[in-house]
C-alpha cells in the first residue's frame, strides 16, 4: 500500500507547516513593500527585501483554475482518483495549489468562493485544503 507523499518541512517552510498543524494558514508578508508571498521564500519576491514575517492569512479565496486527475502518476494517489488539483486566488493576492474537498469534482466552478480547511496526512503534518463557502 503506497501512501501519499508527506511533506518534509525545512527550516524556511517550518512555520507554514507549524501553522497548518494549528489549523492556521500562514503566509509570508513583507514589511518593506507590504506584499504577500507564496510559496515559501527566503526573500520577498516583489522587492527582494529580507523583511519577511509570518502572518495568518484569511483562508478565503476563489477558484482560479483546476484539473481533475484520472491517471495514477504517483502510486500514493491510486485510491484517490479521480481527484482535483486546484489553484486558489487568496484574498491576500497570492495563488496557491491545493485540493478542493467537500464537493464533487463535477460541481467545481472557476470563480467559486472557497475557504481553508485542514486535513491530516500524517501524525505531524496537516495540509491546507479548500472547501466551498456555505451558501
Amino acid at each position: 500500500m503506497h501512501t501519499k507523499p508527506v511533506p518534509v518541512p525545512d527550516e524556511v517552510s517550518a512555520p507554514f507547516f507549524d501553522g497548518a498543524r494549528d489549523r492556521k494558514l500562514m503566509l509570508q508578508h513583507c514589511s518593506a513593500c507590504d506584499g504577500w508571498s507564496f510559496p515559501v521564500r527566503e526573500r520577498c519576491p516583489h522587492c527582494f527585501a529580507a523583511a519577511l514575517t509570518w502572518r495568518q492569512a484569511s483562508g478565503r479565496g476563489t477558484l482560479y483554475t483546476f484539473t481533475i486527475m484520472h491517471q495514477v502518476m504517483n502510486p500514493g494517489f491510486a485510491s484517490a482518483v479521480p481527484y482535483n488539483v486546484a489553484q486558489i486566488d487568496l484574498e491576500e493576492g497570492v495563488r496557491m495549489v491545493s485540493n478542493v474537498v467537500g464537493i464533487g469534482n463535477d460541481a467545481l466552478r472557476i470563480g467559486m468562493a472557497l475557504d481553508v480547511v485542514f486535513e491530516d496526512v500524517s501524525d505531524d503534518i496537516r495540509l491546507p485544503k479548500f472547501r466551498p463557502v456555505a451558501g
Binding site: 503506497h2 501519499k4 507523499p5 508527506v6 511533506p7 518534509v8 518541512p9 525545512d10 517552510s13 507554514f16 507564496f38 510559496p39 515559501v40 519576491p45 482560479y64 483554475t65 483546476f66 484539473t67 481533475i68 486527475m69 484520472h70 491517471q71 502518476m73 504517483n74 502510486p75 500514493g76 494517489f77 484517490a80 481527484y83 488539483v85 489553484q87 497570492v94 495563488r95 496557491m96 495549489v97 491545493s98 485540493n99 469534482n105 472557476i110 496526512v121 495540509l127
Partner: protein, 418 residues
C-alpha cells in the same frame, strides 16, 4: 514591428542568414530501442554527418541537452572520431533545441569552433519517462515540491492542464477545437514513413479516448519513444560545399521566460505562455513576422501547447487559438501547416529536435514522404496530401519553430531556404 526600448538587436541583425543547418540525422522512432543512449546518439550523429556530406571528424563543436537521461559529448566525440574545440552538455528539455542552436552560433561567431553538432539521445519510453512518475514518485517531498506533489500535482500533463482549463474559461476554447491539433498532426504523420503513429484520427477519436487529467484525453498527449536526433550547424558560406540546400538561420530566441519561472502561475494570467515575451525578440531578430511564415513547428507535447504558442507568438489574436488550430490553416494544403511530420503527438518524442529537423527538410523541398524519386535523386512531389501521399509544403521559403519547456519558458527560431 516596434522593438522594446531596451532590446539591442544590433548584433542579431547582422547574424541573420550567416549560419545554417547543414546536416540532420535521426535514429528510428521506436519503443524498446534495445540500445544505450550512447549507441543511439552515435547513430544519429553519423546520419547527420552523412546527410551534410562531411566527415564526422569535421565536427569540432558539440552540444547536447538532457535531464540526466542521455549521454554526453565526452562519449560521443570519441565514438564518432571527432576532436572537439568546444563542447557543452546542458540540462534542459523542450526549449533547448532552438536555444542551443543559438549558443552554437554564438560560439562559432566568437571563434571557438567551426562546425557544431547538437544531439539529443533518449530512451524516453523504455528507460527514463518524462515527468518522474511511477516509482520515482515515492521520494519524500521537500523544497518547492512541498506545494505541489503533496496535492498530487507532478506530471507534465498535470502541471499544464490548469492552463488549458483557464483558457477554456476565459476564451470559450473547446476540447473539440483543440482535438483538431491531433487530427491534423495525425494526417501529416500518415504521410511520414518514419512516424511512430501513422494512423489518422478524428475529433471523436480524441474525445472518446480515456481521460488522463481533465481536460486532457490520452490522444491529447504526445507519444513516448526511444530515439536520438542530431543537427549540424556551420557558417552559411561553408554550407555551399555541402550536400543539401542549407536552412539559413534568420533569428532565434532562447529560453525566454515569464516572470517567476519557479511558480509561473503566480504571475498574471495562467494562459499566457513564454511566447508572449519571446515574440518581441524572435520577429525583430528575424526581420519577418508571423504573416510571412509558410510553416510552423509549434511544440505539441500536448494538443493545446501548440495552440497556446501559436497564439502568443502572434499567429492569431489571444484567445483565438481554438479557431486557428481548427480552421484548416495548420493542415497540409492550408495556409500555414504546423508540424508536418506529425510532431510529438505522432512522429516521436524528441524534446523538440524532430520539429526543427522536419522544417529543415521542408526548406530543402525534399521531404521524405512516399512520393516517387526522380532521375535527379529527389522526390517528385505531388502535393496530394491524401493518406499515404505527399508531405512537402509547396514553394516553402520561411519556417518558424516554437519550442516549449513548459508554460513559462520557450525558445523559437526562424529559418529561411538558402
Amino acid at each position: 514591428m516596434p522593438l522594446p526600448a531596451d532590446t539591442d538587436v544590433s548584433t542579431p541583425k547582422y547574424l541573420r542568414d550567416k549560419y545554417a543547418i547543414v546536416g540532420i540525422g535521426e535514429t528510428t522512432y521506436t519503443r524498446g530501442s534495445d540500445k544505450t543512449t550512447r549507441a543511439l546518439g552515435t547513430w544519429a550523429l553519423r546520419n547527420a554527418a552523412a546527410d551534410a556530406g562531411i566527415k564526422t571528424s569535421d565536427i569540432d563543436g558539440m552540444l547536447s541537452y538532457s535531464n540526466n537521461d542521455s549521454t554526453s559529448a565526452t562519449f560521443m566525440a570519441g565514438d564518432i572520431g571527432a576532436r572537439l574545440n568546444f563542447y557543452m552538455d546542458c540540462v534542459g528539455g523542450g526549449s533547448s533545441t532552438e536555444a542551443l542552436i543559438g549558443i552554437a552560433i554564438g560560439v562559432m561567431e566568437a571563434g571557438l569552433c567551426n562546425c557544431v553538432a547538437l544531439f539529443r539521445a533518449m530512451n524516453g519510453f523504455s528507460q527514463v519517462r518524462i515527468g518522474g512518475t511511477g516509482a520515482r514518485s515515492a521520494t519524500p517531498v521537500g523544497g518547492d515540491m512541498l506545494h505541489n506533489r503533496a496535492y498530487g500535482w507532478q506530471s507534465a500533463g498535470q502541471m499544464f492542464a490548469p492552463t488549458f482549463m483557464r483558457h477554456m474559461y476565459d476564451y470559450g476554447t473547446t476540447p473539440e477545437q483543440v482535438a483538431m491539433v491531433k487530427v491534423v498532426h495525425s494526417e501529416h504523420a500518415s504521410n511520414n514513413p518514419k512516424a511512430y503513429y501513422k494512423k489518422r484520427y478524428t475529433v471523436d477519436d480524441v474525445l472518446s479516448s480515456r481521460i488522463i487529467c481533465k481536460p486532457l484525453h490520452l490522444l491529447d498527449c504526445c507519444v513516448e519513444t526511444d530515439n536520438a536526433t542530431a543537427i549540424i550547424i556551420t557558417r552559411a558560406d561553408r554550407a555551399k560545399d555541402m550536400r543539401h540546400t542549407p536552412a539559413l538561420i534568420r533569428g532565434i530566441v532562447g529560453r525566454c521566460s515569464k516572470p517567476r519561472m519557479d511558480m509561473h502561475y503566480q504571475t498574471g494570467p495562467i494562459s499566457r505562455v513564454g511566447g508572449y515575451y519571446a515574440k518581441d525578440i524572435l520577429w525583430p531578430n528575424s526581420g519577418v513576422g508571423p504573416e510571412d511564415i509558410d510553416a510552423t513547428g509549434a511544440y505539441d507535447a500536448f494538443t493545446f501547447t501548440s495552440m497556446l504558442q501559436l497564439e502568443d507568438y502572434g499567429f492569431c489574436k489571444k484567445g483565438e487559438g481554438g479557431d486557428y488550430v481548427s480552421s484548416g490553416i495548420t493542415r497540409l494544403g492550408g495556409k500555414r501547416p504546423n508540424n508536418t511530420s506529425g510532431g510529438h503527438l505522432c512522429e516521436g518524442y524528441t524534446h523538440g529536435m524532430n520539429m526543427v529537423i522536419e522544417n529543415v527538410r521542408q526548406l530543402r523541398h525534399d521531404i521524405d514522404d512516399s512520393c516517387p524519386i526522380g532521375a535527379d535523386g529527389k522526390r517528385q512531389h505531388t502535393y496530394d496530401y491524401r493518406e499515404g501521399g505527399c508531405r512537402q509544403v509547396k514553394d516553402i521559403e520561411l519556417t518558424a519553430n516554437l519550442g516549449w519547456a513548459n508554460p513559462m519558458t520557450t525558445s523559437g527560431m526562424v529559418m529561411r531556404r538558402g
